[in-house]
Subunit: 488 residues, 2 copies
């Protein structure tokens, strides 16, 4: 297994200083143009060499009639050409001495018949020239820390800690705004794999396992092509970095869709569940879960065990979280007498300290962000917490107005209050080394949600999703321990 | 069963012309003040009579020292007073002749012991004076079509078609922005039930079943108190209006949380599943599902069967939807030869017509919104569709710029294009009477999502959620048919 990303064949693909680009023109409706445009608008600082048979410039960059005309040796080639000229282009870059490529063009294994022959031809050429490539039929690659976004849509330049390897490019390029809007997150590095004719998912797991910007690895899987190699590498990577997988081919219908999509042969759920358990990979049952789990696993210290306390000031969301926690394999211990004693001053007579700790209506809102979670994190019988957040800027606005704060000071005061309270929660997590997962029906339009998320305290959009994500952390801790014992 | 809402004891509570309000003051941190403030800021047009022992005005309304001083007979009383004076207040409104009340005050059955005695006392007084009331320990009531929002938070005045009866007030008052942000929806009428000492969930189902603004009924259930009555009424209502329930007490932990929250005794999952099946109620497994299902059931014509076609231009989201559809009990038929022939001009060689119909890259974007779904809705072997939406305003912007459209015309042209395309989808649904459920990772910040949703085409935030919601429609169609046959 590699110990540094520059030992990986993916290194020049994710960290190129220069790219030769085939298939962009000045016609904005062309796929290649969209990708080159995304690279430019995200601010990539390396050199781009568009190749075009006729144009002198492409998107205002000097264009070259052929790869041979390029004065230097680019780190990699990006190919978005019509199917029938892909092979000859791969040969041309091989002749030039380029050893790395991304092939976006489709029309290979995924269409069957002649497509399969065409794919074999690409593999043969790559073998002759020692070229390593991703694709064909992929979307591209993104490395947010280098401002490299060689995919279909602009990313808005958001960096993040989720490393992704995907057998569907959509789950990279179409998730930029999703991750940003929901969690204020982004991809550290993302690889779209397509048909995996050369570089495959195992190479990506190895790369992302060694990538210093990646805290957690997300996989979108339609089928695993090299079972044993996958198991070996994933087992070793998951010992030090969590891996979450969404596997889509488990149903008959899913299987058929995968075959049409990337020409992959999917297997039954049970087989994949076995592989995931053996390798310490957490399986997500939906795309939302995939990213929820990654977000929380990348944000929190891991819980030692499965016991948690729920803090709420609304009974319903607290009860929904409690129910979901048990279903996710977690336990809600009753607080110890010592904790109950320390809690007593905070819990009104309408509230409950039975876990969920339901404060109903707290007199001093700051207690909710400091005094109460502090007591609950000190509880020796619990390994972490869920906290429900419902406060809005409007509530503080009303309170400040009634206290006579002048209008022109209110916004600043609201932000100060929000930041102080959220900072307090973030500091508690650090001090106690136990995870806190927040949940709220509010979005990043709410200043508490944004402030908590931006301070590394994950906030998920529902009690059930928070409970399941906590359960994923518990599962990962358990699996990792088991694998670690087997490996010793 | 009632045939009109004005036969219900809830009618004066949800449609009051005048309210006497106990427990509001000029102190903004008091719960009562927050509720009166929400009523005022949402623009209720009826008369409000705050009662306060000392203040002359409350939130700028003339205040009365006692209910006896009010010159007329208010339609209902709203009580947010300290626990120990609730009983005497209920008696006082009874003496005055008021027959309807909402009791928000807590400290009754949910705290056990003396609280249970206090609740019995309320029931006794209500019996003496023929008072019907919701609560205690509830949040209030909302009727968006009357701009009545007697709950804890301002609602932003959004109307909608979801009727809600909830054993947790949070799932009304804290869902206003949730429903608005996700679906552009709101509650038609919402009842927070609290401890159900008098009016209970069955009364609400009956009311909402007859409510002309309510297209679908959402229930948040911690326990059903009157089993047989519930079954009788729900069975009759669900024959003409879908009911979706989220039941939280099925796990041991959930059960304990419910007991602390509203003093309710929850039962095992199997028991509740049986009740739901018998009554035609669709069970949701999370709060998100509860509202997803309601939103889709309230928006779409019902599918005749479980066969659907998925239209996408991204393989991954298509495959994820396909896999989730099978898991949700739906089938994806292969299109008939006739349909395939009609589709051929629209599907590029990189695409697939195997269902999912994956267009990869369509030349003419309008086809995606008209030509293709038209062909697919005409398919006799399918009962409805899922469609994946990924287009952004930015994409159209780029295209228009490259076509030389002047900058100052672009925004208007984008909106026109979006509206024309979305209107086209909405019209197809009407013409063919088959449901289309959209899904997208984009939010209402995206003009397509907003335009589709505002035209009655539901768009959910992930393939799995769209598939499950379609499955909920299929389940409802099936259950309703079965119950209807049993009833004949």
């Amino acid at each position: 297994m590699i110990t540094s990303i520059n030992q990986s064949p993916l290194y020049p693909i994710a960290n190129p200083k220069s790219i030769v680009f085939f298939g962009a023109s000045n016609n904005y409706s062309a796929m290649g143009t969209s990708i080159l445009n995304a690279i430019l608008s995200d601010g990539f600082e390396g050199t781009l060499y568009p190749v075009h048979p006729r144009e002198k410039t492409v998107l205002n960059l000097p264009a070259y009639a052929s790869v041979d005309d390029i004065p230097t040796l680019p780190d990699m080639a990006f190919i978005v050409l019509p199917t029938k000229i892909v092979a000859q282009t791969l040969k041309a870059i091989g002749e030039k001495g380029i050893r790395h490529a991304v092939i976006v063009s489709a029309g290979f294994n995924e269409v069957g018949g002649k497509g399969e022959e065409r794919q074999k031809q690409l593999q043969k050429i790559a073998g002759q020239y020692n070229i390593r490539f991703t694709g064909p039929n992929c979307i591209g690659v993104v490395n947010s820390h280098l401002r490299l976004n060689a995919t279909f849509l602009p990313s808005e330049g958001k960096t993040g800690f989720i490393g992704m390897a995907s057998q569907s490019g959509s789950f990279i390029t179409q998730m930029f705004s999703y991750l940003n809007n929901r969690y204020g997150q982004g991809f550290s590095t993302g690889f779209s794999l397509g048909n995996e004719a050369n570089i495959d998912m195992v190479d990506c797991i190895e790369y992302l396992g060694a990538c210093p910007n990646t805290r957690v690895i997300a996989l979108y899987i339609e089928s695993i092509r090299q079972g044993q190699k996958f198991i070996d590498i994933a087992r070793r990577v998951s010992l030090h970095k969590p891996i979450v997988a969404f596997y889509v081919g488990g149903s008959e219908t899913g299987k058929r869709a995968c075959l049409s999509h990337t020409g992959s042969l999917a297997g039954p759920d049970q087989l994949y569940n076995g592989v995931f358990r053996q390798t310490g990979i957490i399986r997500a049952s939906s795309i939302e879960e995939l990213f929820d789990f990654c977000y929380v696993l990348g944000s929190c210290p891991l819980p030692v065990g499965n016991k948690l306390i729920i803090q709420t000031h609304s009974g319903g969301p607290g009860a929904a979280a409690a129910d979901a926690c048990e279903r996710a394999g977690c336990e809600l211990p009753l607080p110890s007498p010592e904790t109950l004693e320390k809690l007593a001053p905070f819990v009104p007579h309408t509230g409950s300290a039975n876990n969920p700790i339901d404060l109903t209506y707290t007199k001093n809102p700051l207690d909710f962000f400091h005094g109460i979670p502090k007591v609950l994190l000190e509880e020796k019988g619990a390994d972490g917490m869920l906290i429900y957040f419902l406060a809005t800027a409007g509530m503080i606005h009303t309170a400040l107005t009634s206290m006579g704060v002048p209008d022109d000071e209110i916004d600043t005061q609201i932000q100060n209050i929000v930041d102080t309270q959220c900072q307090s929660i973030a500091a508690l997590v650090k001090t106690h080394g136990k995870p806190i997962v927040g949940f709220s029906f509010l979005t990043r339009e709410n200043p508490f949600v944004t402030s908590l998320q931006d301070r590394g305290v994950p906030v998920l959009p529902s009690p059930e999703r928070a409970a399941k994500a906590f359960g994923a952390m518990v599962d990962y801790t358990r699996l990792r321990k088991k694998i670690s014992q087997q490996t010793d």
